[in-house]
């Protein structure tokens, strides 16, 4: 048990150090998120009446695309350097390694988006009382996005030029998340019960935490064998 935790801690620490040392990895999604949201008032209209109704959708679509941005590199460097092979050979199953890697990735690429959302929702004139629902939906939803992206990244590991492919594979699978997340905020703004939507998001989160590492680990195993 101590060995197990030791390996997991080593993987988590290594991920953190590698990410911190390559600032572009975690800065890209944040900058992209901000830029996309700033473009919407320029492209549609600076009026509050035009922006306020679409604010939630814009924030969520920007978050969806931003979270996809860094994830194609999630396993690639480790795959090319051979570190992934070492992880596959280690005493800990790839399931846990995948879980840790995705969680650390979310910590650096997903959590900043959640923290930035209140500020950026000011740009889009989102009503003040709705901000916390948006933040909560992002907090529950962006980890699911990270897990789905990680499945895509692991599956496209042995492909050539995978970023468009990753988009094509992951976006359809992420549609439920954006539906339930924006649904929660819309229900809240109309005074309808919104807890159900958040509960479904939480259910999707727990489902993806438990199940997606299985798929990721299986794909990584194939990728390692096919190197």
């Amino acid at each position: 048990m101590r060995d197990f935790l030791h390996v997991l801690w080593a993987v988590a620490r290594r991920e953190c150090v590698l990410t911190v040392r390559a600032p572009t990895q975690w800065l890209h999604p944040v900058v992209f998120f901000t830029m996309v949201i700033v473009l919407f008032p320029l492209g549609i209209s600076p009026n509050q009446a035009a922006l306020s109704p679409i604010a939630v959708g814009v924030i969520w679509i920007a978050a969806l695309l931003a979270s996809m941005l860094g994830s194609e590199r999630l396993f690639e460097a480790d795959h090319q350097s051979g570190a992934l092979e070492q992880m596959a050979l280690s005493s800990v199953s790839l399931y846990w390694v995948a879980l840790i890697k995705v969680f650390v990735h979310w910590l650096f690429a997903g959590l900043p988006l959640v923290l930035l959302a209140p500020l950026l929702s000011l740009f889009l004139f989102l009503p003040m009382n709705e901000v916390w629902v948006v933040v909560l939906s992002l907090l529950l939803g962006t980890p699911v996005l990270a897990f789905v992206n990680a499945i895509g990244a692991a599956i496209t590991l042995s492909t050539r030029g995978g970023s468009v492919l990753l988009l094509l594979i992951c976006l359809p699978l992420q549609i439920p998340i954006i539906i339930f997340a924006t649904g929660a905020v819309k229900a809240f703004s109309e005074g309808l019960p919104y807890e159900g939507y958040l509960a479904v998001l939480a259910a999707l989160l727990s489902l993806s935490v438990v199940l997606s590492p299985v798929a990721i680990a299986a794909a990584l195993q194939v990728g390692v064998q096919n190197r």
Binding site: I151, I155, T156, S158, T159, R160, G161, G162, L165, L168, I169, L171, P172, L173, I175, P176, I179, F180, G183, L204, L211, A215, A218, A219, V222, G223, Q225, N226
Partner: protein, 205 residues
């Protein structure tokens, strides 16, 4: 007798023998398919009585509904084959899954296209963001992703495995997508023909 059954089963499960049998049977199967398609099309488009409400425009149902069920059914087939291949390593399942993806994608597209053509005279619009239409469109994207993935992996065995994984992930996700989209918006009538229900229970046609 038992040995013969076992041998035949294993032979049909192996691409090498299957391709030999298939080459012999292909012309006959193609002929049967072509003739039945022709008979069905002529019968439905020329001889079936017009609908009392929609007149002749309803005839597209004879293409639209089968295309939709093939489009949806083939994804289930691919997912089933993916499971069989992943668990029992039957190579034939990979062959079937690979061949089924473009067919399923074509029929999904056909059902969307005929639906748009049919929607104009009956609903007054080519496209609405309705749950069934949207989930069909998403299904088409899933097919495209599957085909694109297979195209972009050079190694056949790795390509098969990755596609099988994606098909299984998609199969788990498909009900979630379907119900989420259904919550989101619904205008299309419920399925007219179901296997468990007699079609007299529904009005409409």
């Amino acid at each position: 007798m038992w040995d013969w059954i076992k041998r035949t089963y294993h032979r049909w499960g192996s691409p090498r023998y299957f391709y030999q049998y298939a080459r012999r049977g292909m012309v006959a199967a193609g002929l049967i398919a072509g003739v039945s398609l022709l008979v069905g099309l002529i019968w439905s488009l020329a001889f079936a009585p017009p609908d009392y409400q929609q007149g002749n425009s309803f005839r597209i149902i004879y293409i639209h509904v089968p295309a939709a069920s093939v489009g949806m059914g083939f994804y289930a087939l691919i997912a089933g084959c993916a499971f069989v291949s992943w668990v029992w390593k039957m190579k034939m399942a990979d062959v079937v899954a690979e061949a089924a993806a473009p067919i399923g994608a074509c029929f999904t597209f056909l059902s969307l296209f005929t639906g748009a053509v049919w929607g104009k005279p009956t609903w007054g619009t080519y496209w609405v963001w309705d749950a069934r239409l949207t989930s069909m469109l998403i299904l088409l994207f899933l097919y495209l992703g599957l085909m694109a993935l297979r195209q972009s992996i050079a190694s056949t065995s790795a390509g098969n495995k990755m596609c099988n994984l994606l098909a299984m992930v998609g199969a788990i996700n498909l009900p979630i997508i379907k119900y989420s989209v259904e919550w989101w918006n619904t205008l299309h009538q419920p399925a007219t023909f179901t296997i468990t229900d007699s079609c007299h229970d529904h009005d409409g046609f």
